[in-house]
Structures are given as structure tokens and as C-alpha cells.
């Protein structure tokens, strides 16, 4: 019989101090046992992070308050515990790691001292014993050169190394419960895989109970023993991993799983002889850091990138962060100037045109950015945002607004949305608006720079469908930049894999993603979480292959 470490029973969290306020968490009950990983899954706004912060007692005082139920850690009630008692329990009995390793560490304190703080606060060890313990722990989380890293500031470390520091900090006192709030979401797939393995191994060695919060079904398939699905502050269903993935009982869970794009590329579309609309030849971008005295530093962000895109086709550029994929996109749109090579748009060289001469060509290529919350001007109505481009190119205001209405309907929003402001829309709707804005100029090429990465899977699926539909209807060519191989598999005809600013491999999506030739592409695919599962069909990929033979 294993012990229950965390027992959340009928928890209610409301906005404000009164229990009559709006409920953010509405009566959820979860148990996490020793040596068990419970994955708490849900889309944004489902209340999964609020749940974890409630356990730690880290909710913003005054704005959100637990008003009902109980949270017990190894039998001890946390909701009524004093601040002092909660402080004693943190790091010793329960610890937490966060999503963003870039911002979760104090930038002005060496990382070793940040771990040391935990030991100073909770133990009586002397300086030497503390340091030894920290270095041991750092080796335990497989950090290299621990002495050097001990004295380093966070900005000297990579994202993966920082997350290892966070894990070392959380586990140095061997707490009974580890809460991991999207710990790998901000990391590249290869790093993500290492961190997931690390958490698994540490859990096995120490018998820690893990409450793992994520929105990524792939990660769930990799790490969970049991799964709890949340939606709008309520628990939808709980169960062992296998039964949730194979036989979800609730409609919502089924839809959630069905929205996860498959790693198996969609059937290839026929090759076309349509004209080439976009060509990049040996495109290069070097950033030079100038300094007042002495020599500057050079960073090669893109090196000899060559690609072609035909009318009505979708070309994906995939790669990890720092691979140069966004640099290439921005050079092609001429948001930044390439340092070498050429870009031909509809047969016309544009890489060396001056800003002024470029102006007539700008409308042929439009871009949609990653973050729909920041890419629309909050003080301008949606209609004006969409109409701004055409008006710049001489279209009369009334005509441009009429076109804006049509475009909003094209992207699946009501035409009367023109008069509203961006904050009145959800993330998915805003991305639709951003797409409408890009389409307003009738471009030949649409560049989507991680355009669906910030969206929940169900919304992501809708936006991908929308892009596909628009392409069929308008014959537009799409250059799709993404780090997500699943998304690439579902929307791209051709794929370019980039690493360190260079093209590693390119070819038809089915070819590259199913039979990669290069080691790097293989390692990327290998690291994709949940690659063994075909979520949409509720079965492992292997079974699907067996069934189709």
C-alpha cells in the first residue's frame, strides 16, 4: 500500500475574499501517491496552475483565495496553515519548478548561492557541508563542471542548465512532493527529453510524488502514471495513463486528444507546375556587435539558405531555438536586411531594394507573428488594423473597411467585429484577425512565424484548418516557421530542417519526417514527446501500422 502524499479534496478557489465570488477552481479532488506522477492536463484558463499555486500557498494574496475544501500534504492541512508553517514546509516537504527557466532564477545572484539559500533557511549545516551538498546535487541533476556553474550567474547558462538548477534547488532537501508547472514547455525538444528523463530518474531514486502540469499530450504520454484532465476549473476525468489515452470516457477528453496533430505527415498533395512565387538563394545574415574600442563580435544567424516556394504550396522551416528559422523569415519579408544572398519575390529580386523601392513589393508578402496578444495594436479597432494596409496602398477608406468585413467572415469571425478592440477577443480569434490583416493586401506569400505555437491544441487545430482552407480558396503560398514537428507534419508540403543557421535537410514532408537522412533530423524526431502514440486514433502508432498492413 503506497501512501498518499497530496490529497486535494473538493477545493474551491474564488476571486476576492468572499466565497460567493466567481470560482476559478470549482470543487476539484486529486490524490498523488508516493512514487507516482500525476499529470494535470488542460488548456489555458483551465485552472491547473492556480491549483498548484494553491498547494504551495503562493496565490496572490487578496485577489485569489481558497474558500472551500481541503489540501492535505502527508495528512497535514495546508489551507489553514500559518504563513510561518507554510514557509517551513516549502522546499523541505513540497517544492516547485516553473515553466520559464529564463526568468525563474534571480539574474543578479550566482546560481550556487540561490541553491544555498534553501539550505541556509532550512538546515543548520555549516558552509562547507552546504557547498558539498549543493555540488553533489548539481552532479545528480547531471550538470557539467559543477564548480564553475556554482559560481555562474543565470545568464551564462543555457535554458536546459537553468532548469536543472531549478530542479536541484527543488530537490536538494528531498521533499515528498514535487510540483512541476510546465517545466519543459519553454525548452527545445532535445532538452525537453533530457529533463523529462531526469525527473523520472530522480523520482525513481527518491520516491518523490510528482504533480506534473502540462498542456502537451506528448509529454503526458512520456511521463504520466495517471492523468487528470481539467477544464474551466473543474475536473473532467481522472484515470491511469493508458485508459485515458485509449478509452477516454468524456467528450472533452476525446476532443482534446483528437486535436493533437499527428507526427505522421498528412498524405502528400500532388506535385504542381504552378509558378514559383518565392525564392531565396544563398541567403545569409551576420549580426555584428560593434564596440567603441577593440574588435566586435560576429554571430552568423543564417548561412547560405536556399529555398523555393510555389503558388498554392506550404513550405515549413523547422528547427530548435537559435537555429535561424525566424531570421530567415524576417530576411525574406525584409523586416531585417540580409547580409548576403538574394530573395526573389514573383521573379523580382528584392533583397537589395531600398526601403522606398521595396514599398510596392511589400504587399505581395505578408507575415503573421507568434503572439496574438502582442501583435495587434490594443488601441486600434480590429477593422482599422485590417484596413490600414490597403489604405496605405491607396484604397479608399470605405472600400478598405468593406474588405475588412469580408475578410473577417473569411477567417470565421462575424463581420461586425470590425468595430471592436483586440482585447475583446480570445487568443485564437486574435490570430484569425492577424491572418485577416495579412490577407488584406492579397499577398502571394503568407509567412507564418510560429503562428500557432502560442495557441491551445484545439484552437491550434482550428487555425491550421483555416490556413489550409484559405490556401485552397486563394491559392496563396505559405512559408510556415515552426519548432513543432507535429504541426509541420500536418500542414507542410515541403520541409526545411535548420540547425545553427544552416539547412541540414530539405525535401517533401513525408520523406523528411518519415525517413530522415541526417542524424540531426533523426534526433529531433526521436526527441518529439509521445512519438509512440497516435493520439487522434486513441492507440499507439505501432498498433496503427500493424492494423493497416
Amino acid at each position: 500500500m503506497t501512501n498518499t502524499v497530496l490529497n486535494i479534496n473538493n477545493l474551491v478557489v474564488t476571486v476576492g475574499k468572499k466565497s460567493s465570488g466567481p470560482k476559478i477552481i470549482d470543487g476539484i479532488s486529486i490524490q498523488v501517491r508516493e512514487r507516482e506522477t500525476l499529470c494535470l492536463v488542460g488548456e489555458s484558463g483551465s485552472g491547473k496552475s492556480v491549483t498548484s499555486l494553491t498547494v504551495m500557498g503562493l496565490l496572490q494574496k487578496g485577489s485569489l483565495n481558497p474558500t472551500g475544501g481541503s489540501v492535505k500534504l502527508v495528512g497535514e492541512e495546508l489551507l489553514t496553515a500559518t504563513d510561518r508553517r507554510l514557509r517551513q514546509l516549502r522546499a523541505t516537504q513540497m517544492a516547485m519548478i516553473f515553466q520559464e527557466p529564463m526568468t525563474a532564477l534571480n539574474p543578479v545572484v550566482p546560481v550556487g548561492r540561490q541553491i544555498d539559500e534553501v539550505l541556509r533557511a532550512h538546515t543548520d549545516l555549516d558552509g562547507r557541508a552546504r557547498k558539498k551538498r549543493i555540488l553533489d546535487m548539481m552532479e545528480h541533476v547531471r550538470l557539467p563542471q559543477v564548480e564553475r556553474i556554482f559560481a555562474s550567474y543565470p545568464h551564462r547558462l543555457s535554458g536546459g542548465q537553468r532548469q536543472r538548477i531549478m530542479i536541484a534547488m527543488a530537490l536538494v532537501l528531498e521533499p515528498k512532493l514535487l510540483i512541476a508547472d510546465e517545466p519543459t514547455t519553454a525548452l527545445d525538444v532535445t532538452t525537453q527529453k533530457q529533463i523529462l528523463t531526469l525527473i523520472r530518474d530522480l523520482q525513481r531514486d527518491h520516491g518523490t510524488a510528482v504533480l506534473f502540469i502540462t498542456h502537451d499530450m506528448g509529454v503526458v504520454a512520456e511521463i504520466a502514471d495517471r492523468v487528470a484532465v481539467m477544464r474551466q476549473g473543474r475536473l473532467v476525468e481522472t484515470g491511469p495513463l493508458d485508459s485515458i489515452l485509449r478509452n477516454p470516457t468524456m467528450e472533452y477528453t476525446r476532443n482534446l486528444l483528437a486535436s493533437v496533430p499527428s507526427l505522421v505527415p498528412r498524405p502528400a498533395r500532388e506535385e504542381t507546375k504552378e509558378p514559383i512565387v518565392l525564392e531565396a538563394n544563398d541567403l545569409g545574415k551576420v549580426y555584428r556587435e560593434r564596440s567603441f574600442f577593440g574588435k566586435g563580435r560576429e554571430v552568423v544567424a543564417a548561412d547560405k539558405v536556399t529555398l523555393t516556394l510555389r503558388k498554392g504550396r506550404t513550405l515549413g522551416i523547422v528547427g530548435e531555438s537559435g537555429s535561424g528559422k525566424s531570421t530567415v523569415a524576417r530576411c525574406i519579408v525584409r523586416l531585417i536586411d540580409p547580409t548576403s544572398g538574394g530573395v526573389r519575390l514573383a521573379g523580382r529580386e528584392i533583397s537589395d531594394l531600398s526601403r522606398r523601392l521595396l514599398q510596392p513589393h511589400r504587399q505581395k508578402i505578408q507575415i503573421v507573428f507568434q503572439d496574438p496578444y502582442r501583435s495587434l495594436n490594443p488601441r486600434v479597432t480590429v477593422g482599422e488594423s485590417i484596413a490600414e494596409g490597403p489604405i496605405n496602398y491607396g484604397v479608399a477608406h470605405a472600400d478598405a473597411m468593406k474588405r475588412a468585413r469580408e475578410l473577417l467572415e473569411l477567417v470565421g469571425l462575424p463581420a461586425d467585429a470590425v468595430a471592436r478592440y483586440p482585447h475583446q477577443f480570445s487568443g485564437g480569434q486574435r490570430q484569425r484577425i492577424a491572418i485577416a490583416r495579412a490577407l488584406a493586401l492579397d499577398p502571394d506569400v503568407l509567412v507564418a512565424d510560429e503562428a500557432v505555437s502560442a495557441l491551445d491544441v484545439s484552437v491550434q487545430a482550428q487555425v491550421l484548418e483555416l490556413l489550409d482552407e484559405i490556401q485552397k480558396r486563394l491559392g496563396i503560398a505559405i512559408l510556415f516557421i515552426t519548432h513543432d514537428l507535429r504541426v509541420a507534419a500536418q500542414i507542410c508540403d515541403e520541409v526545411v530542417v535548420m540547425q545553427h543557421g544552416r539547412v541540414v535537410e530539405q525535401g517533401p514532408a513525408g520523406e523528411v519526417l518519415m525517413h530522415p537522412k541526417e542524424a540531426y533530423t533523426k534526433s529531433l524526431l526521436d526527441a518529439a514527446p509521445g512519438r509512440g502514440w497516435d493520439f487522434a486514433n486513441f492507440r499507439p502508432v505501432a498498433e496503427g501500422v500493424a492494423a493497416s498492413v
Binding site: M56, L58, G62, L86, R87, Q88, L89, R90, A91, T92, A95, M96, F98, E100, T103, A104, L105, N106, P107, V108, V109, E117, V118, R120, A121, H122, Y153, H155, M166, M169, F292, F293
Partner: protein, 313 residues
């Protein structure tokens, strides 16, 4: 670090050069004969000629500039037209009161304002926060001479704890020095307390929303440690900027306070020189003020790199 310092000091040289050129041209390029301006309205031709020769006004402009800079580098700032004393001597007599008051004011302001700002941010939205902010609005709105006269009335006239006005050098003993400097320091620090407290609060509020503050709390360390070790150090950069520029302003621009408390500082020296059109003194004051700003800015930048390891030049 040392290399950075040396580079920064070298980079300050051209700045001071431009200032020197401007100061030099100020007199030469004003319409009319500089000698006539210097000599005043009732000058005899002989006196004009004497001034011309002494200033080298008959030489080409570039030669004049080189001679002038050369003298400058040897500590010769010219002679006052009014008192006929060397300008360098006039200024050096006035520097001690000004620097003493600026330093004591900034120290008092920081000691009072930073904790106030931290507490206001920590207790954000409570009556403590509103009280501190109310205090700072008061500090901004009451003119320094009003505060000065009120302080004199209470502590010097009614209670007779300290002298009404004047300044004693610290070489005359700490007691007399302190007695005379305390009231102007209090009066002046009023507005700086308001400014720095506000700045600290705003910077702290920004930082308190950061992820690493949440991480620090998740470690189970005390709130005091969270505030001091994690929040305040990250909030320090904008606060240091305000403190530094405040200090530079204080050295050269406290004319009103110097008048109220009858302190012979460089603020009053400047104003007197401007009113009397004492050009050599004005020139020297512009140079001195620029130098102070350059040095203070250098110190601020050095403080940045010490506070935040990410900042490297």
C-alpha cells in the same frame, strides 16, 4: 572591470573637450567686443587694450583656444572681474559647503526613502502604501524655502537647538559643522525623499511580479530575505540613476537653500556671477558642473555593472 573604467574615463575626455570649446566660444562669439563686455560700460580705451592683450584677443581664435586650454590644465581659470581674485580660489572656498550638503542630503534621503519605498511596494494597496504615497506628494508640492523657514522657526528660533544659519567647516570640529548642516539637509532632502521613495516603490512593484520572486518564496525563505536579497537588488538600477542625478543637481543647484540658510556654496556663487556678468566665473562654473555630471554618470554606470552582472560594456 579595470579596463572598462579606463575606457570610460578616456571616453569622458572628448565630452569635456566639447564643453571646454563651448565655454570658450561663449565669450568669443557673443556679439560685440569681448574686451568691452569684460571691461563694463565705463572702461577707458587703455583698459580695453590691456584686457585684449591679457586675454590674447589679438591672436587668431585657434591660438587663443590652445592658450586658454593650456592655462586651464595648469589650474588657471582666470581672474574674477568683480573681486579680482583667482577664480580657482573663489570656487575652492565654496566647494566644501556645497559638497557637504549634497552628500548629507543624499545620504539622509536614501536612508529614509528606500525603506519607505520597499515597504510601500510590499504592502501595495494597503493604507501604509497610500500613506507613503501621500507623504511623497506632499514632499513634491511644498517648496524647499517653505520647509526651510518652518524648520528654522521650530528648531532654531523656538527650541534654540541649532543656529539659525551659516556654515562651519568640518575642520572646525564635527559638532559645529553638524549643528549648522542639519537643518538645510532636512529641508533639501524632503523632495528627494519623495522622489526616491516613489522610484523605489515603482521599481519594486515591477520586480515583485517577476518569476524569480515567486521562486524565492517557493524556497520557503523569509519575506525580509525575499524583499532585500531578491527584489531590491533587481530594482536598484533605476533607483541608483535617480540618486546619482539627484546628487549632481544638488551640488550645483541649491541656490534657494543656500540663500535661506545663508550658506556660502557654489550655487549662490553662480547666481551672483551671472547677475554681475562675471564671465570668468561663469565659464569656470559651467566647466565644473559639466565635470560633476560626467563623473556622477561614470559612477552610476560603474554601479550598474556592480549591481547587475548582465550589464557589461
Amino acid at each position: 572591470m579595470l579596463g572598462y573604467l579606463v575606457r570610460r574615463i578616456f571616453a569622458a575626455v572628448p565630452v569635456m573637450g566639447v564643453v571646454a570649446l563651448f565655454v570658450f566660444l561663449l565669450l568669443r562669439l557673443t556679439p560685440g567686443d569681448p574686451a568691452a563686455i569684460l571691461a563694463g560700460d565705463n572702461a577707458t580705451p587703455e583698459r580695453l587694450e590691456r584686457i585684449r592683450t591679457s586675454l590674447g584677443l589679438n591672436e587668431p581664435l585657434i591660438v587663443q583656444f590652445i592658450t586658454w586650454v593650456n592655462k586651464l590644465l595648469h589650474g588657471d581659470l582666470g581672474t574674477s572681474l568683480i573681486s579680482n581674485l583667482p577664480v580657482l580660489k573663489m570656487i575652492s572656498q565654496r566647494v566644501e559647503p556645497s559638497i557637504s550638503i549634497a552628500l548629507s542630503t543624499i545620504i539622509l534621503a536614501v536612508i529614509v526613502a528606500v525603506p519607505l519605498g520597499v515597504i510601500a511596494a510590499w504592502k501595495h494597496g494597503t493604507w501604509i502604501d497610500r500613506f507613503v504615497m501621500g507623504l511623497s506628494v506632499l514632499g513634491f508640492s511644498v517648496p524647499v524655502f517653505v520647509v526651510g523657514y518652518i524648520l528654522i522657526e521650530i528648531f532654531a528660533i523656538d527650541l534654540r537647538w541649532v543656529p539659525v544659519q551659516g556654515f562651519k567647516s568640518i575642520s572646525a570640529g564635527f559638532g559645529p559643522f553638524f549643528e549648522r548642516i542639519i537643518l538645510p539637509t532636512c529641508a533639501l532632502s524632503f523632495i528627494y525623499i519623495a522622489l526616491i521613495a516613489r522610484m523605489t516603490r515603482a521599481a519594486m512593484l515591477d520586480v515583485l511580479g517577476e518569476d524569480y520572486v515567486r521562486t524565492a518564496r517557493a524556497k520557503g525563505i523569509s519575506e525580509v530575505a525575499v524583499m532585500m536579497r531578491h527584489a531590491l537588488r533587481n530594482a536598484a538600477v533605476p533607483v541608483i540613476t535617480v540618486i546619482g542625478t539627484g546628487f549632481a543637481l544638488l551640488i550645483s543647484g541649491v541656490v534657494v537653500t543656500e540663500s535661506v540658510f545663508n550658506i556660502p556654496g557654489i550655487g549662490r556663487l553662480t547666481v551672483d556671477a551671472v547677475l554681475a556678468r562675471d564671465y570668468p566665473v561663469i565659464q569656470a562654473m559651467i566647466l565644473l558642473t559639466s565635470l560633476i555630471y560626467v563623473v556622477v554618470n561614470l559612477l552610476i554606470d560603474v554601479a550598474y555593472t556592480l549591481l547587475d552582472p548582465r550589464i557589461r560594456y
